[in-house]
């Protein structure tokens, strides 16, 4: 653990950001828990041979990739035989990681291809300044989180931008400007709504159905203007110290990932948001900052069983699980881990085969009974294992949603018990 300080002031590893308190009163034990959700996806998956522990149950023996997490053994559950039914299109399926529904099939589902994080953000709407925070490692990330209407939520790969959103107070002039803009937009929406109603009368049935989208959108924007408006005058938390600099477009994975984790901890500590996604899109990501790696990440996942490639792949993947372990250190030190569900996984199973079966999935923290390798019921053929959305339903239940099923799931994974 890298000298992380718990207390009234905290210096975060790597970024050198000091936070002036008051924080959210995370230390107070009397209040009801504040539930949060962090979903981390690695598009290139983890090699199943080094990811899955050989034994199951509470006495499971950690796999090579899970060794760095041993100190958090009691705080996580690793699963086997979770996957999305009917989805197996290699890289093209990875975007369904958090929804279980391909974007092209969204129309056939009542909630479209909404992802678990967006479902959570809908539920928590208005509670925090930022409804949900979405981070990627490159400018081309951004197909991991999807809204109810089938839109991919864009990501940022710039820590400095996140820092600004969290801490930089708008000037009085900017605030006035924003309020003015909200006011203009409200009148603009009134005018276009009147026009749209006029148009609707002239349209045939199929066209009218299409125009319904427009009406729904106008109402959604009106609602979000109202929500955003109330935050303009509330002060942001304060941070002294400098914002991190952006490591640039195609930043080195090794340098970027720890800073991103720092930013997530900052966002959660200050209760600026309660829903975060972090997408590690890896096809172009330079990995030379991971020691002893000479080949491209994507190339290495196509290892073709070559021992040299497998060795290097293990180094990168171990870097990921080690960084993740440090992230859990930070959450624990800030007393956030018990309230924060942290999902680590991928929409791809075996990258060498490009399959989406038996996904690598791990859930840490968030108020569950952990400390196990949970082997959920396995189907007889591919595509019949336990739906991953059953876990998502369970996570949403923990968050407080009254649901018994999510998207392509068949129920909630009650085998994972609440703590």
């Amino acid at each position: 653990m890298d000298g992380f300080i718990v207390g009234r002031r905290a210096l975060l590893r790597g970024t050198g950001v000091a936070l002036a308190l008051p924080f959210l009163d995370a230390m107070a034990s009397s209040r009801a828990p504040t539930r949060r959700m962090v979903c981390i996806g690695n598009d290139l998956s983890f090699n199943p041979d080094t990811w899955l522990p050989a034994t199951t149950g509470t006495a499971f023996k950690p796999s090579p990739l899970l060794e760095p997490l041993e100190r958090h053994r009691q705080s996580y559950t690793v699963f086997s035989h979770l996957e999305h039914p009917m989805i197996n299109k290699g890289h093209e399926s990875v975007h369904a990681y958090l929804s279980g529904v391909l974007s092209s099939d969204a129309k056939a589902w009542p909630d479209g291809n909404i992802t678990v994080d967006q479902r959570a953000a809908e539920f928590l709407a208005g509670k925090t300044r930022i409804p949900s925070l979405h981070i990627g490692v490159s400018p081309t990330s951004g197909r991991m989180s999807w809204t109810r209407s089938g839109v991919a939520v864009p990501t940022t790969c710039k820590p400095a931008e996140i820092f600004q959103a969290l801490f930089r107070e708008d000037s009085a002039d900017e605030k006035r400007q924003r309020i003015h803009q909200f006011e203009v937009d409200r009148t603009v929406l009134d005018a276009v709504m009147a026009q749209a109603k006029d148009l609707q009368r002239k349209l045939g049935r199929a066209d009218q159905a299409k125009l319904d989208e427009y009406f729904t959108s106008v109402r959604a924007v009106e609602k979000s203007i109202a929500e955003l408006g109330q935050w303009v005058h509330k002060p942001k938390p304060q941070a002294d110290g400098k914002a991190p600099t952006n490591p640039g477009g195609w930043a080195e994975l090794g340098k970027l990932v720890p800073i991103v984790y720092d930013m997530i901890v900052l966002a959660l500590r200050t209760d600026s948001t309660r829903v975060v996604t972090f997408q590690m899109e890896g096809t172009q990501q330079p990995v030379s900052s991971v020691p002893d790696v000479s080949l491209g990440y994507h190339t290495l996942t196509h290892h073709g069983k070559s021992p040299e490639r497998l060795e290097q792949l293990l180094l990168i993947e171990k870097f990921h699980t080690s960084s993740f372990a440090k992230f859990l250190d930070q959450l624990q030190a800030a007393n956030l881990l018990d309230e924060t569900m942290v999902l680590l996984g991928s929409g791809m199973g075996n990258a060498n085969q490009h399959t989406c079966r038996d996904l690598p999935i791990l859930l840490a923290g968030g108020g569950f009974k952990h400390g196990q390798h949970l082997d959920v019921p396995k189907g007889t053929t591919g595509g019949q294992n336990t739906p991953l959305c059953n876990l998502y339903a369970r996570m949403l239940q923990r968050l407080g949603l009254d649901i018994d099923k999510f998207n392509s799931g068949s129920g909630a994974l009650t085998a994972l018990e609440f703590a």
């Binding site: 603009v188 005018a191 729904t216 924007v221 979000s224 477009g249």
Partner: protein, 769 residues
């Protein structure tokens, strides 16, 4: 009498239905019936109600498979020709009478259409400024999209409505101290040297312009530049340069808002490349359009490659200490560099103020209703009644009453217009024939991806676009307009999937040259130019399958292993007959996008050929099948692994139809370079195969010969794609008639591409909603 005839038809049709059933029972049901459903198809339960689109699609497929001879498979007895003819007649008859062609549904402008329409509506430059930059690619209207529309519209009105004083002309003069540094830029006391052309390394810009220029406008850029070092004195291989070329100064434009000017980010815009003379100091002057927030970046586009690898290799070769960051070693470096002494940037420069878009919008009027009505006719692309835009004029009046200036209030009004459904959606009226204005829009969004121009609108106002000759004349005029480039780019992107380029980027280490020489951009240019040429010259569609020419510049020619082409400009290059590069299948763009950036896959490439050239969509693999586990340790080739895969019955049916095409293309590596051996394991490439209908080929050249015999099938596939693109709706089986009609017209004229475009414009689906 009439009753008698109907009865007679009914009986014949019943008799034909029986014949059809027995045909299916004899030739099809054993594989597509109660016991087996190969390819997920079952025909014993398929009834002859052609009004159901699902049924009609399956019948269509049966007709196509049987008449092309692909089905029944080789090892089954061939049905007699007369039976096939009868079956086909029955199906055609059913399809023709079955379903009515569906209508297009109200649709939103695509991101590209939105951008172009904003450009033409206000006459503003959208080369750098992309008002649709944050729009999702799909056509769903969501709260998110509408929020982006509001934000874009705000930026647009700020750009267009400029009643304030003329922004002051500012001249920034920067010497060595004000120049940026970077991995490929070396800073000295009185100058800075650009030493690398690598896109991320050698970028020099004005350090003190962190937010780009403060105002839109034209700017004058002056650069004092000297070419130093000897391009011929060092190993060209180490420097990775072309010693004979004149050194060039590149001017890119980008915005720090996308990260930093020190990296390409989401895309540099290449403004200009200027040839320089070796050993001379020159003052280069340029006039550039810069949108607010953008700034110029100087590069050395044909300078040395990556700095680190170059300097280390060079040090080794010359036996000198390796270059490091110390100025002393850098000063001793004798390699080629561009030395920048100073930069001046002066602007914004306007010929008139307020600028033209403002003047054009208001035409000196201060009457909100008048200005808005004039704009609405063009923004909504149809006739508009004053009542319709009353909510917007009311909005403007209310704001003026509340104390806002006329122009400030008009910003809100125009913003509302840009967010209203009339602007965002393409209205096409009721089902049936399109009216004149809807026709004008259909034509202009088909060929220009933008709104109709004044002439087209005038013709629509006069009701002349419903006349066939007028429509065709207009289509020809529009094709000759520079705006028709949007058709080439957009249609090619969608038809060939070029927009997916870069989603699976080639490995940066393995395909280093691909990045050094910007092969991706060049290869996209090749494919577009190829299409444009076929369109301009009305060449036959078969040219896409095989051709004795393509379009190349020096970089791309070298990528293909051709060495006698000089310079960056593209030109038509003769390949000679029987070239493996002829046609789309030799284009590096296609070969790269059908690979995963690491290795080639005959399956992916085979599917591409099947879908794009032959217009067939293979069924997805059954869920229970385990995919191949690539294994490069042993001596097995991908071909051997696939052969094993094909032994499994569930796999064989489909794979024997797609793999062979991919095998032929194994002769090209993942970025489209010819190869005879695989990199791993020293194994030779075997590009022979046998097509599903049993024709053997030794290599891709022979495969193309076979594909040429299927030009009719290819023409059908392209026609369907273009008709879909033009009408903005999926085709249904009822559109078969229209497609057949187009093909019948085109066949005697060798399926000319320009003729095809005109036939599409002339077709029934195009003229109807």
């Amino acid at each position: 009498m009439r009753l008698g005839l109907a009865l007679a038809l009914l009986t014949t049709s019943a008799a034909h239905a029986d014949q059809t059933k027995s045909f299916l029972a004899k030739h099809c049901i054993s594989c597509h019936g109660p016991d087996k459903q190969k390819g997920n198809r079952r025909f014993d339960t398929l009834d002859t109600d052609f009004r159901s689109e699902a049924n009609a699609t399956l019948w269509q497929e049966i007709a196509d498979q049987i008449s092309s001879g692909e089905m029944p498979p080789d090892d089954e007895p061939r049905p007699p020709k007369s039976d096939v003819r009868r079956l086909k007649a029955f199906i055609d008859h059913g399809l023709a009478r079955g379903t009515a062609a569906p209508s297009a549904v109200l649709r939103r402008l695509t991101a590209l259409e939105y951008r172009n329409t904003i450009r033409d509506l206000f006459g503003i430059d959208t080369t750098l400024f992309d008002p649709s930059g944050a729009f999702p690619r799909d056509l769903i209207t969501s709260g998110y999209l509408l929020q982006q529309c509001l934000a874009s519209a705000q930026t647009v009105v700020e750009k267009v409505i400029t009643p304030g004083p003329r922004p002051p002309v500012v001249k920034i003069v920067v010497d060595a101290r004000g120049l940026s540094s970077g991995p490929g830029v070396w800073n000295f006391d009185d100058h800075a040297d650009i030493v690398s052309r690598y896109p991320k390394d050698g970028r020099l810009f004005i350090k003190n312009l962190p937010d780009g220029v403060p105002h839109d406008g034209h700017y004058r850029l002056r650069v004092k530049v000297e070419v130093v070092g000897d391009r011929k004195g060092h190993s060209a291989q180490v420097l990775r340069i072309h010693p004979d070329e004149d050194p060039q100064l590149g001017v890119l434009i980008n915005t720090p808002a996308r990260g930093s000017l020190g990296e390409p980010g989401l895309g540099d815009h290449l403004s200009k490349t200027i040839a320089l003379e070796e050993g001379k100091t020159e003052e280069v002057e340029l006039r550039l359009w810069l949108d607010r927030g953008f700034a110029p970046v100087l590069t050395y586009p044909n300078g040395p490659g990556k700095v680190n690898s170059m300097s280390q290799k060079l040090a080794k070769q010359l036996d000198i200490p390796p270059l490091n960051k110390s100025r002393a070693t850098r000063a001793n470096f004798k390699g080629p560099r561009l030395r920048i002494w100073s930069i001046e940037l002066e602007g914004p420069l306007f010929n008139q103020w307020p600028a033209e878009p403002h003047v054009r919008l208001f035409q000196k009027s201060h009457d909100a209703a008048e200005v808005l009505e004039r704009l609405a006719v063009r923004a909504y692309r149809r006739k508009v009644t004053p009542a319709e835009i009353r909510p917007i004029t009311t909005l403007v009046h209310q704001r003026i009453e509340a104390g806002e200036t006329f122009h400030e209030a008009m910003k809100a009004g125009v913003k509302a217009m840009l967010c209203s459904p009339g602007f965002l959606y393409l209205e096409q009226g009721a089902d049936g024939p399109l009216d004149n204005h809807a026709l004008a829009s259909r034509l202009s969004y088909f060929l220009w991806s933008s709104m109709p121009d004044a002439r087209l609108t005038a013709l629509a106002d006069r009701g002349e676009l419903t006349r066939r000759q007028v429509r065709l004349t207009e289509a020809r005029r529009m094709l000759s307009d520079p705006k028709a480039r949007a058709f080439t780019e957009n249609f090619v992107d969608q038809w060939l999937g070029l927009r997916r380029m870069g989603e699976m980027p080639p490995d940066q280490k393995k395909f280093d040259r691909y990045y050094h020489e910007s092969v991706e951009a060049h290869s996209i240019a090749e494919t577009r130019l190829f299409f444009q040429h076929i369109l301009d010259e009305n060449l036959g569609l078969a040219t896409f399958i095989d051709s004795d020419f393509t379009f190349l510049n020096q970089r791309l020619a070298e990528h293909y292993g051709l060495t006698d082409l000089k310079g960056d400009h593209f030109r038509k290059v003769s390949l000679g007959p029987r070239s493996e590069r002829g046609g789309l299948l030799g284009h590096s763009s296609i070969l790269t996008l059908t690979s995963n950036g690491v290795e080639t896959s005959p399956v992916t490439r085979g599917i591409w050929v099947l879908q794009t050239i032959l217009g067939r969509t293979p069924s997805p693999p059954p869920p229970s099948i385990k995919p191949l586990e690539p294994d490069i340790r042993g001596a097995t080739t991908i071909r051997e692994q696939l052969a094993k895969h094909r032994d499994v019955e569930g796999c064989a049916d489909c794979h024997s139809k797609m793999d062979p095409y991919g095998f032929a293309l194994e002769t090209f590596d993942p970025v489209g370079i010819s190869r005879v051996k695989y990199e791993e394991g020293d194994r030779e490439v075997d590009s022979s195969g046998v097509t599903p209908d049993g024709r053997a080929f030794a290599n891709v050249v022979e495969l193309k010969k076979i594909l040429l015999t299927q030009t009719d099938q290819f023409a059908r596939s392209v026609t369907q794609k273009m008709l879909t693109y033009a009408t903005g709706r999926t085709l249904a089986s009822a559109d078969r008639v229209a497609v057949d009609r187009i093909l019948a017209q085109l066949k005697p004229r060798a399926f000319g591409l320009r003729d095809l475009v005109l036939q599409v414009v002339d077709s029934e689906p195009f003229r109807n909603k």
